[in-house]
């Protein structure tokens, strides 16, 4: 079966909400990848004499507080939001899973120490932990990749440890241990392939949380710093347009919502029916 046909089958199997979610996610992925190439204006160019103008032929989403094209800035901003979120979510999931597998396979005091540490970190609300980290280290782009990753590693640890614990008790793992396989082999060849579906769902959820966290930080002025701007920064910089109901503030806020809601709908549609809340 060709890849296209398999993808078609996958889409047909989704409920309507899942298809909408998939469409939104693919749209934003494409915007992040190709946006800067199709953006009508340069990201920092002052192209309109008016500020906070309405949608027009020249400026599809109007202009911002300095007379820059909102659509172009949105297409550039999507790049930061999507890739920072994706990178951070992958980082959180990989480190959480590596630690979770270690805890489940080694057991004993390793498990005890890791679980205690992660339980402590999970008891700090994510936004509070992120704020303390930003206050201590600042918010360069590298740090904005690391801070949400640190914040959401404990959640992934908990889930992957629980998943791995269920698998570690099964016969085929005992057989592998008896064969004398290394811990790394057991983790990557025996346990990991059997938890990949819930793991992917968790990755998707972390992505949603991280995008919301990063946009929130940027909105507070503590996230992506100028001259860079993600979608949250676009909402912040145009906040003075709120009283005019300017598109410049609504468009990026809706952009974030369509990305996160889309991802959330897609993940929910991929869950097995009996788990769906």
């Amino acid at each position: 079966m060709s890849a296209a046909a398999r993808f078609g089958g996958f889409v047909r199997a989704l409920p309507l909400s899942g298809r909408i979610g998939l469409g939104l996610v693919l749209f934003w992925l494409a915007a992040a990848l190709f946006g800067p190439f199709i953006a009508p204006y340069s990201v920092g160019a002052f192209v309109d004499n008016d500020v906070f103008s309405d949608a027009s032929r020249r400026f599809w989403l109007g202009s911002d507080y300095l007379g820059r094209d909102v659509l172009s800035r949105l297409l550039w901003g999507a790049r930061y939001t999507v890739f920072l979120g994706l990178g951070s979510a992958l980082l959180a999931s990989f480190s959480g899973t590596a630690l979770g597998l270690t805890a489940a396979i080694r057991g004993g005091w390793v498990d005890e120490v890791l679980s205690r540490t992660m339980d402590t970190l999970i008891s700090i609300p994510s936004k509070i932990l992120a704020l303390v980290l930003v206050a201590a280290f600042g918010s360069s782009l590298t740090l904005l990749l690391l801070i949400p990753a640190i914040t959401y590693t404990p959640g992934n640890f908990r889930i992957s440890r629980a998943l791995a614990m269920n698998i570690v008790g099964l016969d085929f793992v005992s057989v592998a241990r008896a064969r004398g396989e290394s811990a790394r082999w057991i983790a990557t060849r025996e346990v990991l392939p059997n938890m990949i579906h819930p793991w992917l769902a968790d990755l998707g959820l972390r992505f949603v949380f991280i995008v919301l966290l990063l946009s929130g930080l940027s909105f507070l002025g503590l996230g992506v710093q100028p001259p860079h701007a993600d979608l949250g920064s676009l909402v912040r910089e145009n906040v003075s347009g709120l009283t005019y109901g300017a598109l410049a503030i609504i468009a990026p806020a809706i952009a974030i919502a369509t990305l996160t809601v889309g991802a959330n709908l897609l993940i929910d549609a991929l869950k097995p029916v009996d788990d769906r809340a």
Partner: protein, 327 residues
């Protein structure tokens, strides 16, 4: 008589379990304080350099560091800091030049009021949505509400706030877009200026709360006793009110306490948008101005509030579980 006696002994049986949970929560809070102190103590430039600015000579910095006690070992400073927090006097705010205690005392009541109002609005609303969805499981109403709450969970707080301001302050001119809260304001004014922040926070927490209460009620509906009652011919309304709800109340309160923790994160954005003079916006200011004593104190209050909600959820779950109540 025997009923009262047995419930008394059941409670004494539960007491050690609950005390254990409280002890665990306190231990976690202690570990959390170590994490908060470690992270905020790892500053590249310390408070002495921060205060003196770039023109200071190394001798001046060293002198001030000595005076502020920053040259002593981290463990000593941690113990002193923790002692000060426990005594309720977490030091001097660097930016406001006032004791942190006073700065926080001016803000904390406002945040508690905001949280209280939000809980008052969101809990009944979430229960209504949750129960309505659970008893119509699989129906059009349930699927519609499920889609709505699933989407709302992923909507950023500032979009809700923005739409709220656009509709109620800009278009309809009903409500102020900036929350002016002061002790002199009348109750009417206070409620009016809290309306939009409360509305936004309600939207933020209600989705999660409704989903979790639906799950709690739906779990009960799956149990055999409901099937039995149906087969006996008990009307469905009666089953829900007198058979299911008494059993679902524990898990539901548990779900509500857990979802109220979303208030903490939501408050940070909402208080900032509406210029609400609360603890969360104070903490954001502390981050921007790198006012560490204030930041640490705010972070500890939020963590303590979070752990308290988790503890309440835990204890309610224990109290509501008949298996744990049996001697």
């Amino acid at each position: 008589m025997s009923g009262a006696a047995s419930s008394g002994s059941a409670l004494t049986g539960l007491l050690p379990l609950i005390l254990k949970r409280i002890g665990a929560a306190l231990l976690t809070l202690f570990l959390v304080s170590a994490v908060v102190f470690t992270i905020s103590g790892l500053l590249p430039g310390d408070a002495a350099e921060e205060t003196l600015g770039q023109s200071a000579t190394p001798e001046q910095v060293a002198a001030l560091r000595h005076e502020m006690g920053l040259d002593r070992p981290a463990a000593t400073r941690y113990v002193e800091w923790l002692g000060a927090i426990v005594r309720g006097d977490p030091g001097q705010s660097l930016v406001a030049n006032m004791p942190v205690k006073e700065v926080i005392a001016g803000r904390l009541p406002n945040t508690l009021m905001l949280a209280g109002f939000t809980a008052l609005v969101s809990v009944p609303l979430a229960l209504l949505i949750g129960i309505a969805s659970a008893i119509n499981r699989g129906g059009l109403l349930d699927r519609g509400l499920s889609l709505l709450t699933l989407s709302l969970i992923a909507v950023p707080e500032f979009l809700v706030a923005t739409i709220g301001v656009l509709v109620f302050s800009v278009k309809l001119l009903w409500l102020p877009s900036i929350a002016l809260v002061s002790p002199e304001a009348s109750w009417g004014d206070t409620i009016r200026s809290c309306a939009l922040p409360v509305l936004t926070l309600t939207v933020v927490v209600v989705a999660q709360m409704a989903r979790m209460s639906r799950a709690a009620v739906a779990d009960q509906l799956d149990l055999p006793y409901v099937e039995m009652a149906k087969l006996k011919g008990v009307p469905f309304r009666r089953i829900v009110l007198f058979h299911v709800m008494p059993n679902a109340i524990g898990p539901t309160i548990n779900a509500i306490a857990l979802s109220l923790s979303y208030l903490l994160g939501g408050a940070i954005i909402v208080e900032t948008i509406f210029n609400f003079p609360g603890l969360a916006s104070l903490m954001v200011n502390a981050v921007t101005s790198r006012d560490m004593p204030l930041l640490q104190a705010c972070a500890m209050i939020f963590c303590a509030a979070y752990l308290l909600l988790m503890l309440v959820a835990d204890v309610v779950a224990i109290l509501a579980n008949p298996r744990l109540r049996a001697p």
